[in-house]
């Protein structure tokens, strides 16, 4: 802008001279002109002095000094344009070794040629030896045309003239080559075209969070005045060929991305027609739209994309925005087709067709494979999405093939029923509903778990193998954006007894350290099944377990109050020698088995009347007790009854939880029972 003004001033002065000299003879003369000031809404110039010395040979010297030029907020002082070899003829003016000097801003050699016969003005600026900018203007009584040709233009020089803002990235290098052409008549511009390329462009803001290096791109653009008044047809193509850009949080390299825009522009609207964005390695996005110039509002917009590569789109563009969420470590594959439509700035419809996709959490918390999805969405109406998955897993629990007919109404989802194969059983979800609220997504459902064998479940969870089946009714389960809560009780049938889970809550299930809280009451568990499962040594009988204030962090217990005790009722109560040894291990080094060694050591099994064990887990320490709370240093774990009877005492009241688990896992025999 400033550059153009300087050239205009320069040209205007030369033209003035030219007009003056038309009447002059070729004889020697000296001409001087002084202007106090020139004022314009855009610029001001003060104390303009023009001196022309002309010899009889036709050569002369031109000096123009301007004391001050002010363009908006920029002020330049002592601006000088000089022409040491100045040829002034009747129809030509030539300045072949001129110099333009604006102290502190630029100091460039310039040349000028004006030919009145061909109505041609050429100005050439040479900022460096390898760089030149040529401005050509040719005119007739009906039309004019201008050309700006740039050869090796240094962008760093140009940006020195631009206004600078602290937050704005600063350009440090870059080369521009190309041509801009303008054509018009005396009513104004008719056609303009640009064919430019930029190489080695480097920019960065102060923080380095918005930066680019070695960027090469080409810009081709045309604009033409339409037949309609005040309307322009335009078309632009931008090819990003090389270099890299980091624009927090996205990093992209120029691998041949191409933005093509075309449309119509008038006083009120900008209309986009058949435009496209080709992201190399991702896909092509075709779009069109209408934007109101008053208020810069999008009146209409339509986007269509086919066969978009999900993996690259997600990893390069979407994932950086999700880095503070549970999806930060997710990988997505497959291809999708997408179309969306906006009207008056509001989203009207989306249609997503995802083909053979997968979603995999790199922390292995979940994975869904071979996904096919048709998801239509329309504002203000109900649509049905059809989503299917061949297999997957959540927290190591395998899921089978499933087809989900999901009802979508604005930002509410509803699923009347879903049958999801889980291991060798089935999870039936009913009345699933989800809604997007100001706290994020919230959902709820109820359902039923049809028998899953404990063998497959424990194998999948990589924990101690158990026998039996797991099944139960699932009351309302809800998610409030942070926590999953079970409203009501969760009932599970396992070890031929029942397990009732109260106050079940999963805090931040997809967080780094999910917490599970619950109160669990187990009734009538078959001890034989239980002890066989854990290879604990055979025990016969039934037990109840109360597990109150249970809290797991990262699926490991950090807090609970546990109490195991014999179920009321009449049933066989027998305990094997192996089980006695292992129970004694629970009591630690000081455990004593009260048994009449001399007589009962010959028995493989003993009778008992009651079993009891308590553990309050606090900060990794299990504070243990037996059948009844004991104030003394010992507690009774097994109370004998019948013949042969056995009583097992425990003495170790505090044991590290991990140590206790290790003991159970080893089924240690370190603590030999003391036979009395």
């Amino acid at each position: 802008m400033c550059n153009r003004l300087i050239i205009i001033i320069f040209a205007a002065l030369v033209l003035t001279l030219y007009v003056l000299m038309l009447s002059a003879s070729a004889a020697d003369f000296r001409f001087a002109l002084v202007l106090d000031d020139i004022k314009n809404p855009v610029f001001e110039a003060q104390q303009i002095q023009v001196q022309l010395t002309h010899g009889s040979s036709g050569a002369g010297r031109l000096d123009i000094n301007i004391a001050e030029i002010k363009v908006q907020h920029d002020v330049w002082k002592n601006v000088n344009v000089s022409c040491r070899t100045f040829h002034l003829e009747q129809k030509n003016i030539n300045c072949t070794s001129g110099y333009l000097n604006i102290p502190g801003l630029l100091s460039y050699p310039v040349s000028l040629h004006l030919d009145s016969d061909s109505s041609l003005l050429k100005i050439k600026v040479y900022p460096t030896k390898s760089e030149d900018w040529q401005f050509t203007l040719q005119w007739s009584h009906t039309s004019w045309q201008g050309v700006v040709a740039i050869n090796n233009g240094q962008l760093s020089q140009i940006v020195a003239w631009w206004p600078s803002y602290e937050q704005m990235p600063k350009l440090s290098s870059g080369k521009i080559n190309g041509v801009a052409r303008l054509q018009g008549d005396w009513s104004g511009l008719k056609i303009a075209s640009i064919d430019m390329s930029v190489d080695a462009l480097t920019f960065a803001d102060q923080s380095g969070l918005h930066a680019g290096e070695d960027i090469s791109f080409a810009l081709k653009s045309n604009i033409a005045r339409s037949m309609q008044p005040n309307q322009w047809d335009w078309q632009s193509d931008l090819y990003w060929q090389d270099g890299e850009v980091f624009w927090q949080p996205v990093y992209m390299t120029g691998d041949g991305h191409h933005l093509s825009l075309q449309g119509v522009w008038d006083d009120t609207n900008v209309r986009l027609l058949d435009s496209s964005l080709i992201l190399a390695g991702i896909g092509t996005f075709n779009f069109s739209g209408l934007m109101s110039r008053t208020g810069n509002q999008i009146s209409a917009f339509k986007l269509v994309a086919d066969k978009v590569e999900s993996s690259t789109l997600f990893s390069q563009i979407l994932k950086p925005f999700l880095r503070d969420t549970s999806f930060a470590e997710m990988e997505v594959t497959g291809h999708f087709d997408l179309s969306l439509r906006l009207q008056e700035g509001e989203l009207q419809s989306i249609s997503l067709d995802w083909d053979d996709g997968s979603i995999i959490d790199s922390r292995d918390r979940f994975a869904f494979h071979r996904i096919h999805a048709h998801i239509p969405w329309r504002a203000g109406s109900t649509t049905i999405a059809d989503i299917s998955m061949l297999k997957g897993h959540v927290l190591n629990i395998p899921l089978g093939a499933v087809r989900v007919p999901l009802e979508i109404n604005n930002f509410n989802l509803f699923l009347p029923q879903l049958v999801l194969p889980v291991l060798d059983g089935v999870l039936k979800l009913e009345d699933f509903s989800a809604a997007y609220t100001e706290n994020g997504w919230q959902w709820k459902f109820n359902g039923e778990l049809l028998p899953v064998s404990m063998e497959t479940l424990t194998t999948a969870l990589q924990i101690q193998q158990m026998h039996g089946t797991l099944s139960g009714y699932i009351p309302e389960v809800s998610y409030d954006g942070n926590n999953v809560s079970v409203n009501g009780v969760l009932q599970i049938n396992v070890f031929d007894g029942s397990v009732v889970v109260h106050k079940l809550m999963l805090i931040e299930p997809m967080g780094l350290t999910p917490h599970l809280k619950a109160d669990i009451a187990m009734r009538d568990l078959d001890l034989e099944l239980l002890t066989r499962t854990f290879s604990f040594g055979k025990m016969e009988g039934r037990v109840d377990v109360d597990l109150r204030n249970l809290e797991l962090a990262n699926w490991r217990p950090i807090h609970f109050d546990a109490r195991l005790f014999s179920s009321p009722g009449d049933y066989p109560r027998r305990i094997s020698q192996a089980a006695i040894r292992n129970i004694s291990a629970l009591g630690g080094e000081g455990a004593v088995v009260a048994i009449q060694r001399s007589f009962l050591r010959f028995f493989e099994e003993f009778r008992y009347s009651e079993i009891g064990w308590r553990c309050a887990l606090r900060l990794n320490i299990c504070f243990m007790g037996g059948i009844e709370p004991e104030l003394q240093s010992s507690y009774m774990l097994v109370k004998g009854g019948g013949i042969p009877a056995i009583t097992v005492m425990g003495y170790n009241q505090e044991v590290g939880w991990q140590e206790l688990v290790n003991r159970l896992q080893r089924i240690t025999q370190e603590n030999e029972p003391i036979i009395q």
Binding site: L209, E244, F246, Y251, P320, A328, H515, A553, L619
Partner: protein
């Protein structure tokens, strides 16, 4: 006027008393407490630390007063690596947030999280190696 002065003095006393109570509460918190979740977070942070050290050294990443880290000067990181450093910073901050939350929970005082966070903030800064950058009271940066 005297009445207002008395009110103001009482309010000041109350605030001082409340702050002392608050400080003494945090001082009572066991910052070395250990649970499986805390162990797991600490392991995760420890394995990431080796990758972060070069960025602490270069000044690209600095320690904030609230016990987090931030990209302080991305210019110190090659352009192609800035996104991955961003992710490292983000993952570290997620771990740190989880650590403060877990310590507060393990102390049976989830409401202490913010005080635990500030205490850790100061602790990380004290433990920083010479040359590392940290945020000061005036929200500016200083080098150790």
């Amino acid at each position: 006027m005297i009445k207002r002065t008395i009110y103001c003095s009482l309010l000041l006393l109350f605030l001082m008393f409340a702050s002392i109570l608050l400080i003494s509460r945090v001082q009572a918190a066991n910052l070395e407490i250990n649970t499986p979740a805390i162990t797991s977070i600490k392991q995760s942070m420890q394995s990431r630390h080796a990758q972060l050290v070069e960025h602490y050294d270069s000044g690209a990443v600095g320690l904030t007063m609230d016990g987090m880290i931030t990209m302080r000067d991305a210019n110190a990181v090659p352009l192609a690596k800035r996104q991955s450093v961003n992710s490292l910073v983000s993952a570290e901050n997620q771990d740190r947030n989880a650590l403060y939350r877990e310590i507060a929970r393990a102390n049976n005082h989830p409401e202490w999280e913010s005080q635990i966070r500030s205490t850790f903030g100061q602790r990380w800064i004290n433990m920083a190696r010479p040359g590392w950058w940290y945020q000061t009271n005036h929200n500016s940066w200083a080098q150790k």
